[in-house]
């Protein structure tokens, strides 16, 4: 499904848009410009928007375009440097120590404490967590997902790494990225991310796509779905978004829905098939009740 990806950096937003389209991700002007600038200016891209508008998918598509691995860091409360950056492999270090002792005991050789200690902090005992891995792998795409879930202290730490593109480990020294990774941060706005972090990023607000783009997304992601069905699904989802539901469906939901309908063998969206597969789009009982009551008007 992917076109041939010519690796190397794109020369203009338009070129990047074409290459993103080849991966099955359909960007609009702003998005292509944002991603292009992020690459050119070596700035992280800070994405906000309703759930299901393609924030994470953007990082995946960019990874395909750049032919680089996608390294994902899922943030959560209490995340700290040892989970994001690096950690020492304590059990292996301990084993190594015991092995040294045993070897020294057998050969009756005297061990030099400093040498032993230095050998403990060898890079082979270093466990690279996502951020370090992204710095070591060039090129790479680092996705810092749901950064608003992490604590403020973690933000400050991220800030340091993202601006320097380097990490210094006391026992090993500085590890610097050959080419800075493309960093994509996403946030669901459960809290305000600190201005200092945002200031170093490009700010991209992602919105639900318009009707034609949504149909195009459905068609490119699910090639087996007939055009008529894709159009009906996109139009129905669009009307649902105007209903002020508890959880308006995103693109992810319309994709799920179209896939569900396809699996059910429906060629077009009618009241019966829609009612049967409503669980794929609406995740609240109240929403489902409301929509079911007016299904016929939604499926014009």
């Amino acid at each position: 499904m992917t076109g041939s990806t010519t690796s190397g950096r794109p020369g203009s937003p338009a070129e990047l848009a074409v290459r993103l389209r080849a991966t099955g991700y359909l960007p609009d002007d702003g998005l292509a410009t944002a991603a292009f600038l992020a690459l050119r200016m070596d700035r992280p891209l800070f994405c906000e928007g309703e759930p299901g508008t393609g924030k994470t998918a953007l990082a995946q598509a960019m990874a395909q375009v750049l032919d680089a691995p996608l390294i994902r860091l899922q943030c959560h409360e209490g995340i700290d440097a040892s989970q994001a950056l690096y950690d020492w492999d304590f059990p292996r270090q301990l084993l190594h120590l015991r092995a040294l002792e045993a070897a020294a005991g057998a050969s009756a050789e005297k061990l030099d404490a400093d040498v032993v200690e230095a050998s403990l902090y060898d890079p082979r005992f270093l466990i690279a967590r996502p951020v370090l891995k992204a710095l070591q792998t060039s090129p790479s795409v680092l996705l810092v997902d749901e950064v608003d879930r992490a604590d403020d202290e973690f933000e400050a730490f991220l800030l340091e790494v993202l601006t320097e593109h380097a990490v210094s480990i006391p026992e090993v020294g500085e590890i610097r990225a050959k080419t800075p990774p493309l960093v994509v941060l996403t946030s669901n706005r459960t809290r305000d991310v600190h201005d200092a972090l945002k200031r170093r990023c490009l700010y991209l607000w992602l919105d639900h796509p318009d009707l034609t783009r949504e149909i195009a997304i459905l068609r490119s992601r699910l090639p087996g779905v007939p055009e008529r069905l894709a159009g009906q699904v996109a139009a129905a989802v669009r009307r649902m978004r105007e209903l002020e539901l508890l959880k308006p469906p995103g693109v992810a939901e319309s994709l799920d829905w179209a896939r569900a309908l396809q699996l059910l063998g429906a060629d077009e969206l009618d009241v019966a098939s829609a009612a049967a597969s409503l669980g794929a789009v609406l995740k609240y009982r109240e929403d489902a009740d409301r929509v079911r009551a007016q299904l016929d008007t939604l499926l014009i």
Binding site: L202, W205, D207
Partner: protein
Amino acid sequence: MVTDPLPGLVGFAAALRHAGLAVTTDRVAAFLTALDELDVTSRTATYWAGRLTLCSDPDDLARYDMAFPAWFGPDRSPRGTPVRDQRRPPPSRLASLTSGEDGDESDGPDGPDEPRLRVSASAREVLRHRDLGELSPAEREHLRALLALLRVGLPTRASRRRHPTRRGPADPERTLRAALRNHGELRELRHTGPSRRPRRVALLIDVSGSMAPYADTLVRFAHVLVRRGAGAVEVFTIGTRLTRITRELRHRDPELALAAAGRAIPDWSGGTRLGDVLGAFVERWGRRGVARRAVVVVFSDGWERGEPDELAVQMSRLRRLAHRVIWVNPHAGKEGYAPVQGGIVAVLPYLDQLLAGHSLATLERLVEAMTR
């Protein structure tokens, strides 16, 4: 015509700053760098370069979209993604009034009114119980000083983060790390235990006409909480619409913070549509996280112009999200008060507590209730 675009672009950044965006020098630099990579003569490229570098919040986008055509002339070609933020754009007076003092990170001078504190304890005690709506200007001044001294312990919740402790479950990592320091010899067990974090607090202050005598003091009270809350406290005003004033209230100087908040609130002393506005709060902020497991305090007298049914629906949604819902009604402390207004009756089943809020003493009680 275009010889050097730089003054025009920097002027645009200044115009945005006047419109209330936090445009700093490094952001302007980023804007220019971005344009360097793109085509300066293209309207779309300029639009996106600015939007990506100078905005940092969905609230900024609406202002940006207004300022852009105002500066560069009206658009003649269709544009990309419109923002799905359907709020009305901020009132124009916001743009004209927000001038010099918009740097919310700069520390304003701390101006405590010390002479005012030299008032006898009994006068203070009387003032603590006076109705906030009936204060004389001098008493109001004194009350401000007292508010600044309010002892605020904010609520906390159990955190997922664990902290080193003296006893409790073993902490293998730290134990091993300590052992490594002794060349692999285990000397002592390290322990870990749960820690606590500030719980989110959301204050919703009714600024409609019937609440006007209290609104000023309540916003000041909110300012005290925001300053102590270290990012855990969010403040909104409710009237005919929802306005978030947390950012404005972060300013250290209460007077500047109040002035900024006053400019941000478009519906002082207007009507109330409690149900709709609470709905907007739950939709736009509450569900995203502001109200989740939070202590939500609504300051309102419950005079509802809209449908009480709608209010009940929204309160039940809020109830399901929040840890505690406290309703503070300034009129509840008056003699002969009975919760009979349409709004209050509708929300009563969803409240954890209904408190009075007409005096400083009752606000102190509120602080206690929040931490419980």
